[in-house]
């Protein structure tokens, strides 16, 4: 645990958010906790309550974690620490509708193979959430990845440093679910702050989570085919289990005691529609499949991701299914001169991504925004702002970041608006939410400075990009272009080139760069499914290719270095300040030199 030492420099009268384990309290000697009063009043601020019209100039009063008053003419209590809100806007604390924030085991503990199925050991470099879920549920009768009883609550781990990024985007609370698996587990709504795991919990459990990415490791299910059947069989088993348990409870005499199965137990509320089920689905067909599965078992489903939800809008509306729209819009990959050009389908998806929310709004589909596995938190609000391209108004966007997720997650009685009596989660900005800057957030009534996030930790871009790959098989060497997009632990993309063109499936990426996906390839004998398994190290990917009936092949490939700019054959980009020559091996981006070699060359030109 780390104490945020830099808070010592703060001048605003905000209490430092000291996230400290009890041991530090013991180190302080006498006091176990600090007894600083926690009453704040933000005055003279613009206030967007979401519960009513905007207040141009008003005051919000927070006491002991609850909003006690908000309005244009609210009195400031005598004991309050006053924050001058001149030039500031106060919003209800933003809610990330779907994430894995706040989950993590002991960092650096590595692969604790507790419970069954300890495969999928993760090492250093794994996110805390992935490490935690690698351990699995204790005493489960089902393998890792098919353990619906796993709960976010058991994995909660307050980590001020990990929260800094989301907080800089104004996020104060999130639905948090285990990061991997098919039945991923039970999510909780958590506040991104607090001194203990328990203090984080706002409501738990709120939903069961289902993902459709088959796991690495080779056991069943190792393909999307098996994923659906495994889900279906477990849900059927859960129905049967419920009937069995009910029959036994009614009259145990003479019946053999049915085995208790925590996994099937955990599915009962979902089957009875008491608990919603969040399903990860982005493309049109993925969403249709998720809705079909939900219909088959009468589940109350919420779609998460939803990139092509507009194509299914009518059905979503008719079946009353909300969508948690990912703000992790696809990014344009580095140009690679040897690579095949991107398909129009991919270009279109990138250009149209911001317009989705507006289309859903028009179609009357309920939605909220989620981070979608982004690693660059500056994207969260920037992309939320871009939804205006689809006709979404600022108010609608704000609602989708506040009250709508609260409603969808069943916590709108305590979060989502600024109203007296609700939890004091606030987001304070200088300027407009989408174009200004988040200055601070309040979480459970405790103010926390927001700082521009550090450079993206790179996890999101581990796999994303355009790779040029040579596949060596019993038919010789073939060149292909692999365009990948990483979303959380899932991989999507397209393969084009000497093996034909195909969308990849069953794609996943581990924290250490372990990569797996399948694609249809056409060899001389016919069209087969090739399973690519490999590792990404920096900008090189290498691994093996397995095609049923063929001896194993290998593949290796590269992605352009950021520094290479136009690459071997491309025309060097025209740069501001004109006339800088760019050669392979060193480059310029945004006018800022990246390598020393470049610097020397520049000096050489000046001389």
């Amino acid at each position: 645990m780390q104490i945020r030492g830099f808070l010592a420099g703060m001048t605003l009268a905000c209490a430092a958010a000291i996230v400290a384990p009890p041991s530090i309290g013991a180190q302080l000697g006498v006091q176990r906790e600090r007894n600083a009063p926690s009453v704040y009043a933000i005055t003279n601020a613009k206030i967007i309550t979401v519960a009513g019209p905007a207040i141009d100039r008003g005051t919000v009063v927070v006491r002991n974690g609850i909003v006690t008053a908000v309005g244009a003419t609210v009195a400031v209590p005598g004991d309050a620490r006053v924050i001058d809100g001149n030039g500031l806007t106060v919003y209800p604390g933003l809610i990330d509708a779907n994430s894995s924030l706040g989950l993590g085991g002991d960092a650096g503990a590595g692969a604790a193979a507790g419970g069954r199925g300890g495969r999928g050991a993760v090492g250093r470099g794994a996110t805390p959430a992935q490490q935690a879920t690698a351990a699995g549920a204790p005493n489960s009768l089902h393998p890792l990845g098919l353990q619906p009883e796993l709960t976010a609550v058991d994995l909660l781990h307050p980590d001020a440093e990990a929260f800094a990024g989301p907080q800089s985007a104004g996020i104060t609370a999130a639905q948090s679910a285990p990061a991997t698996g098919i039945f991923r587990g039970l999510a909780a709504v958590v506040n991104l702050g607090g001194s203990s795991a328990q203090a984080m919990i706002v409501k738990a459990p709120v939903a069961e989570h289902i993902g459709f990415t088959p796991q690495r490791g080779g056991g069943y299910p190792n393909s999307l085919l098996g994923v659906f059947s495994a889900l279906r069989q477990m849900l059927l088993d859960a129905q049967h289990y419920g009937a069995e348990q009910a029959a036994y409870a009614k009259n145990p005499r003479g019946l053999h005691r049915p085995e208790i199965d925590p996994s099937l137990d955990a599915l009962q509320p979902a089957l009875s529609r008491q608990m919603p089920v969040v399903m990860e689905a982005s493309s049109e067909r993925e969403i249709e499949r998720a809705l079909d599965l939900a219909k088959e078992f009468n589940l109350r489903v919420i779609i998460a991701g939803g990139d092509e939800a507009d194509k299914v809008a009518a059905r979503l509306k008719a079946e009353n299914v909300p969508v948690l729209i990912s703000l992790n819009f696809p990014r344009r990959p580095q140009a690679s001169p040897d690579a095949d050009p991107e398909p129009i389908r991919v270009l279109r998806a990138r250009v149209e991504a911001p317009k989705l929310a507006g289309k859903l709004a028009q179609a009357g589909v309920k939605f909220a925004f989620e981070d979608g596995g982004m690693s660059n938190w500056a994207d969260f609000l920037a992309n939320a702002g871009r939804t205006s391209e689809g006709g979404l108004s600022a108010d609608q966007t704000i609602r989708a970041l506040t009250l709508s997720p609260a409603e969808i997650l069943g916590v709108s009685d305590r979060l989502g608006t600024i109203e007296a009596g609700k939890i004091a989660n606030l987001t304070v900005t200088r300027g407009d939410l989408f174009t200004g800057r988040v200055t601070q957030v309040f979480v459970d009534g405790t103010p926390i400075e927001a700082h521009a996030p550090a450079a993206a930790n790179g996890a999101g871009s581990l796999a994303s990009g355009t790779w040029t790959i040579t596949v060596t098989s019993d038919e010789g060497e073939k060149s292909v272009t692999l365009a990948l997009q990483q979303v959380g632990d899932q991989l999507r993309g397209t393969i084009q080139g000497a093996l034909g063109s195909s969308q990849i499936s069953n794609g996943s990426i581990g924290a250490n760069g372990e990569l797996q996906f399948t694609a249809s390839v056409t060899l001389a004998a016919g069209t087969e499914e090739a399973r690519f398994t490999g590792t990404i190290t920096g900008n090189v990917v290498r691994g093996t290719v397995a095609v049923v009936g063929h001896p194993q092949g290998t593949f290796i490939g590269t992605r352009p270095d950021a520094a290479q700019g136009g690459g071997r054959r491309g025309r060097p980009p025209q740069l501001p300040g004109g006339g800088w020559r760019v050669e392979g091996g060193g480059g310029i981006r945004d006018g800022r030199p990246l390598t020393q070699r470049w610097l020397l060359r520049r000096i050489g030109e000046l001389i």
């Binding site: 690679s336 001169p337 040897d338 690579a339 095949d340 050009p341 398909p343 129009i344 389908r345 040029t468 790959i469 040579t470 060596t472 019993d474 038919e475 010789g476 060497e477 060149s479 397209t494 084009q496 080139g497 000497a498 034909g500 063109s501 056409t522 001389a524 004998a525 190290t537 920096g538 900008n539 090189v540 290498r542 009936g549 063929h550 001896p551 290998t554 593949f555 290796i556 490939g557 590269t558 992605r559 352009p560 270095d561 290479q564 690459g567 071997r568 054959r569 392979g584 091996g585």
Partner: protein, 444 residues
């Protein structure tokens, strides 16, 4: 349409009894002896000139000795009645490795297509080809009489052989035992040739470029060494006072290519790779043939300007990009023809499927190439590209008697072969497949 069964009626060939043992290659019956034959009354497609709707072809001593509407059969000739049939020159498949690989998956002992190491200019297909490969028999009965069979892999793969599909030993098959050198240039963007083997544990894209650079340097230095070697050898031959240069089989093997007498096959499909190959060849004074040519239409002007021929193996390939038009590869030959680029059509198959060669040409004809050009692209043009255009590829007096007599258009799938001559020898139309058919078709 009636199909007449291919029973060798009034046959010229005695069908030897074959054991149907499963060992490779008991299935290619040997050719009959050369003699004098007159194929009479057929519709002759000469390829070089106008068709002769009702004419006679005379074969003697392995050559075509007469062609025409009013040609008389010599008195001692065996006469073949070709009434109602078509007479074509044998087709030539230039993009395969026939005889070097029998069963690709699961029987590595039958695969001799790729030698170990990156630089094998002296690895000759001629010494790896199995004349008794069952692929030989089944391919020739559709009218493919001649193939260029090449090794693959590495950077210098070896030397291809131009062989007839008849003869029970390689010398008997060979028309040109060493017809072309094969060089597979490393490609930078895709990790360089053999990057998979060369890469260090922690690779980077810079490594890929570096590997390629090293490989290109090695290739250049090898060719330059060979050039120097050749110069020293011929200098010594004229002037024995010079120090006697040692012999080197590897360098020796590259001399014909460096002298421009032997062309060099460069497999290349992408536009950049095609350009690189041609540029490299010109730098090193080699005579390039592009093998593959999937993106050749986009560099057609360049190819024409540099007079580089292309063996198109991509006609039946799936489009490699999602947004490509569905017929992008079917139309390659038509585009090259329109641009004036010299080309031939090939299946690109290693061996067992080369019998689909005529249909590749047919598909090109269905997509913009004229029917006559389509036929040329599998007869005369491949012969010319490999320097044997004066010896085969058409029905002309003086050429090798590689002749196919068929029931219809040789590029059509329903067409059957009635008679086959290779090097002026009659070829029995029995193959492994006809034998198995005979054995099982009436099994109760």
């Amino acid at each position: 349409m009636q199909i007449r069964r291919t029973l060798a009626a009034g046959s010229l060939c005695v069908l030897p009894a074959f054991s149907l043992g499963a060992q490779l290659g008991s299935f290619n019956p040997p050719p009959g002896p050369q003699g004098t034959f007159a194929i009479r009354g057929g519709h002759i497609v000469t390829v070089t000139g106008a068709d002769i709707p009702n004419g006679t072809v005379v074969i003697s001593g392995g050559k075509i000795t007469a062609v025409g509407a009013n040609v008389q059969a010599p008195p001692n000739a065996q006469v073949i009645d070709a009434g109602g049939l078509m007479v074509y020159p044998g087709m030539i498949e230039t993009g395969s490795s026939v005889g070097l690989s029998e069963i690709g998956q699961g029987a590595v002992a039958t695969v001799d297509i790729q030698e170990v190491g990156s630089f094998n200019p002296n690895a000759q297909a001629f010494f790896g080809i199995d004349p008794h490969s069952a692929h030989v028999g089944v391919a020739r009965v559709v009218g493919i009489t001649t193939v260029v069979s090449r090794p693959t892999g590495g950077i210098m793969s070896g030397q291809a052989a131009l062989i007839n599909l008849a003869g029970d030993t390689p010398p008997k098959m060979a028309v040109v035992p060493r017809v072309a050198l094969v060089i597979e240039l490393p490609r930078s963007g895709f990790g360089g040739r053999g990057f998979a083997r060369a890469a260090a544990q922690q690779g980077s894209p810079a490594d890929a470029s570096r590997t390629r650079q090293l490989q290109m340097d090695s290739l250049r230095s090898m060719l330059r060494d060979a050039e120097a070697y050749g110069k020293a050898q011929s200098a010594y031959a004229k002037d024995k006072t010079l120090p006697r240069p040692a012999h080197d089989v590897v360098l020796e093997s590259m001399l014909p290519a460096l002298g421009g007498q032997m062309p060099v096959i460069f497999p290349a499909d992408r536009a950049n790779d095609i350009r690189d190959a041609v540029t490299f060849a010109e730098e090193m004074h080699l005579k390039p043939i592009i093998m593959g040519g999937q993106e050749a239409p986009t560099v057609a002007a360049f190819l024409k300007q540099h007079s580089v021929p292309v063996i198109v193996t991509a006609v039946m390939h799936l489009p490699s990009r999602e947004d490509d038009p569905y017929d992008i590869n079917y139309t390659i030959p038509a585009k090259l023809a329109a641009a004036g680029v010299q080309f031939a059509i090939s299946t690109g198959d290693r061996g067992s499927e080369i019998r689909t060669l005529p249909y590749n040409a047919g598909m090109a004809a269905a997509n913009g190439l004229s029917k006559t050009d389509a036929l040329k692209s599998v007869t005369l043009w491949p012969a010319q590209i490999f320097g044997v255009g004066d010896r085969m590829g058409s029905i002309d007096v003086g050429k090798m008697a590689n002749i196919v007599v068929t029931t219809g258009d040789i590029l059509e799938a329903k067409t059957d072969t009635k008679y086959l001559f290779i090097d002026g020898r009659p070829i029995p139309l029995d193959t492994k497949h006809t034998q198995l058919n005979a054995q099982f078709k009436d099994r109760p």
